[in-house]
Symmetry: C2
Subunit: 514 residues, 2 copies
């Protein structure tokens, strides 16, 4: 058995059965091993940031890792931005990078690069396999590292000789430790804050945003009364929400709104989330969104179990699960002009049951989340690390990780351009993804930020934020990659296309001119 074969057997033994890949020469022995050993679903993508973003989307839906397969340092580099997002989402990923043979590396062939150096900033675990005999055990360690709470990226670099040499040994799956429980003092601190009667905000992140934990958190807030509120982080890996579930607002993205939302807070209780900070700094604006002097209580760190901690807090407070919100009839799809609010209304009306929404709608989309609390039950996935270009890859991976559920991508056009290659993978794999391209033909978020600098943009500045001249034609771009597509410029046309797209199998792109 060569090293590559031991790698495939070990992945399968450790429960990793999906591999998103963009292989090159140094990975041919791994590809050959995949050919000989059944059991791995291999998904090809035509650019590495699609590979890594898809692995992130898969992990968010499966709560377990897929493998990636990348080619040398530059192939890894192409996928780093979405690994950055995945790191912020705490998604488990087994990130496999083929590389120069151990004896060839000193010759500094053209493709030789600092693969480990590039991997380390996004990885919780990084190792370069020393020889074929080590590959199986290294792989088992990588899977364990990726799956250990709160989840992370384990990068295993495989010099090509470690794959082609004989002497491979299948690694044994290693136990994944159960997430630690919150310490009693953390429970007590949260309980005291909630009982204080002073304004208290629970900030929820990670697994605290699944339906069960949200119900418990909602029950706590209801039991405490008006002094307590709860909010999700600004950007979250996955929120289970929609009709019949406990709704939760998020800390707003704009600094002024976030500061206003948290004004007067005396106690901030962190449940698997960091204290809210501004996405960027601005002159003369605060970096921390909660008031200075606000007391911060860490109920659970990201690697601890938030559902257990919330349950213990609920017991201490005598809280029961939140009363289910009253059923609200779905609105009619919106008509007329295309606005963020109208799109929210149509989504609320037509979102398929158990849809997975991937939200990279950026500036236009700020009404979409607040306006869809009462849509059919669904999951909401966001860009977590701010590295734009995650939406199409996330949707691709989420569709593979959540078969039978419709994926709906709410996708700003500027962001979509970074990773449009993912549409081809959606076509090839016949994935049930409806991508709504929000075509404003500009980096609209930058227009707002530029005005924040205190000036009206002149010609040079406008040219650096304007995606018109020429206009991108998303119908042709999608068709060029084998995905059917159509354009809408009224809400009526959009509603019709959206309903049709969601009812048919396979991917569809709607260019919504906004």
């Amino acid at each position: 058995m060569n090293g590559a074969e031991s790698l495939v057997h070990t992945l399968l033994a450790c429960g990793v059965d999906t591999c998103f890949s963009n292989p090159g020469t140094s990975e041919m022995h791994f590809v050959a091993a995949l050919d000989r050993i059944p059991g791995m679903r291999c998904v090809l993508a035509l650019q590495e940031n699609v590979v890594t973003g898809a692995a992130d989307g898969y992990a968010r839906m499966q709560d377990r890792p897929a493998a990636t397969l990348l080619h040398c340092g530059p192939g890894l580099a192409n996928g780093l931005a979405n690994l950055h997002n995945a790191r912020r989402a705490r998604s488990p990923i087994v990130n496999l990078v083929g590389d120069q043979a151990t004896h060839h590396r000193p010759l500094d062939a053209p493709l030789t690069a600092d693969t480990e150096g590039w991997a380390r900033p996004v990885s919780t675990w990084t190792r370069t396999a020393a020889d074929a005999a080590a590959v199986g055990a290294d792989c088992a360690s990588a899977v364990q590292a990726a799956r250990t709470a709160p989840g992370g990226i384990a990068t295993l670099i495989l010099p090509s000789d470690t794959c082609w040499d004989e002497g491979g040994v299948v690694g044994t799956a290693r136990a994944v430790p159960t997430p630690a429980q919150a310490v009693p003092s953390a429970i007590d601190g949260a309980v005291r804050a909630l009982r204080s009667g002073q304004p208290t905000v629970l900030i929820l992140g990670g697994m605290a945003l699944r339906a069960g934990a949200l119900d418990v958190a909602g029950g706590i807030v209801a039991a405490v009364g008006t002094s307590a509120r709860m909010m999700a982080q600004t950007s979250n890996a996955r929120i289970e929400r929609g009709a019949g579930r406990t709704p939760i607002d998020r800390v707003p993205y704009p600094v002024d709104q976030a500061v206003a939302a948290l004004a007067g807070t005396v106690h901030l209780i962190l449940v698997g989330a960091p204290a809210p900070v501004g996405f960027f700094a601005y002159p003369n604006k605060p970096g921390l969104m909660a008031p200075p002097g606000c007391e911060v209580h860490v109920l659970t760190r990201p690697e601890q179990d938030p559902a257990d901690a919330l349950a213990r807090v609920a017991v201490a407070l005598g809280a029961t699960t939140a009363p289910k919100p009253a059923a609200v009839p779905r609105p009619e799809p919106a008509r007329g002009e295309v606005t963020s609010e109208a799109l929210a209304q149509t989504l609320c009306a037509l979102l398929p049951e158990h849809a997975v929404v991937v939200d990279e709608s950026v500036s236009f989309g700020r009404a979409l989340y607040p306006g869809t609390h009462d849509a059919a039950p669904h999951d909401w996935l966001q860009i977590t690390g701010g590295a734009i270009g995650c939406g199409i890859p996330l949707a691709t991976g989420a569709a593979i990780g959540a078969p039978g559920r419709r994926v709906v991508g709410l996708q700003a056009d500027g962001s979509a351009m970074y990773t449009l290659q993912g549409l081809w993978t959606q076509a090839r794999e016949k994935l049930d993804v409806t991508t709504v391209i929000l075509a404003n033909r500009k980096y609209a978020i930058l227009m707002g930020e530029y005005r924040g600098v205190g000036a009206n943009p002149g010609r040079t500045a406008l040219d650096m934020m304007d995606l018109g001249n020429p206009d991108l034609d998303w119908v042709r771009l999608a068709n060029g990659m084998g995905v059917e597509a159509a354009r809408a410029d009224t809400m009526e046309a959009f509603a019709e296309l959206f309903a049709q797209a969601n009812a048919r199998p396979g991917p569809f792109v709607i260019e919504l001119v906004i």
Copy 2:
């Protein structure tokens, strides 16, 4: 004057007047400064690997740096692969990366990443500006570092407060040292080897591949007689060639052919090039392409002046400039089936005078360079670091760096997909680029490499190397980005389209089905 304004003034004072950019929020003060201060040509690209690859193409044609403008660590990460290629091409680039404000970085906002750590492996010089007052001097140092022979990437990271704070001071342009001359013992060693009568090969790279230096090198070889040969590296930043110029073959890419080409060599003389090594290692094949025991003489290191050294060797040998090859009439464009040789013939027939050829033709293209020695005078640019996805960006930057000259991209389809966003920039800037997409709808190079592993690919392996299912439609993809395009599947159709495309202004894409 704020830091951003001092940056723009310093760039202009140092002769950097072109900026390829993909800005974000943290760069808005720089964009505002560009708006207020005239003199900088700003070129927007919709993905960062287009930005960095275009800066590489510009530098190869101008022999001076453009600036880039990238957004935070993940924006840099998206451009690393083409920075890797640029590093191997020794292209001067002033790589500007905006980042979190100095006081905001400790808050670990979502987009915060290890920007310096990612930059360092591709950069000869890396610095994070400390405050607004330092930005101008830092920028002047960056330009100097980028321009110091043999050229390199100088990365200046700009926390947003160093741009918006007042107190900017315009930096003074710093002297760029003249490239060092070869030491006398290096000249003597090369002369002795050439006079030995033993088989001797000059390996030329970098500035030794410009027309003047090639003439001198060709004269040396002619003066020595049959024991001496000269070859270019396998991958080169830029070769000046075509009718009336001294032709030079390259060390072949396949290991067996490279070893055969260098068999029997007793003396290897390196002129701004490393000793040839295999692009990848293979089981039971050598890593060094020259015979074991071959004596290696370094005439010039990459940072030394090869033209001067060659001239001194020529004087010592009494060599004169190579006799110009006899004029060969241009062939007729090829007819019938599309083959690599037929394409070479048509290029030889129709390549416009002083064209700039950007060759990322990969496996199909191996006949193109040998078959075009007698085409009209032109420059030939290659992928230097093996990070595929450089062709469209290089062509974009080369067109801006060589106005008035037609750029011809010979572009494998699989490689084109990594950075197809560059077509939009070509349309926006109305660049005179003809891109020939060589559409074999597979990673053909991997098919060959896979067979080298010793097996016929099965279903899984084929699926990971096959870009069909669905076929990419390059006419629609190009149209979707505002570039006119057409498809050819015979050589006659290609010749007609190629001649038309080269005769009209602006970009054009030809999908050549191979």
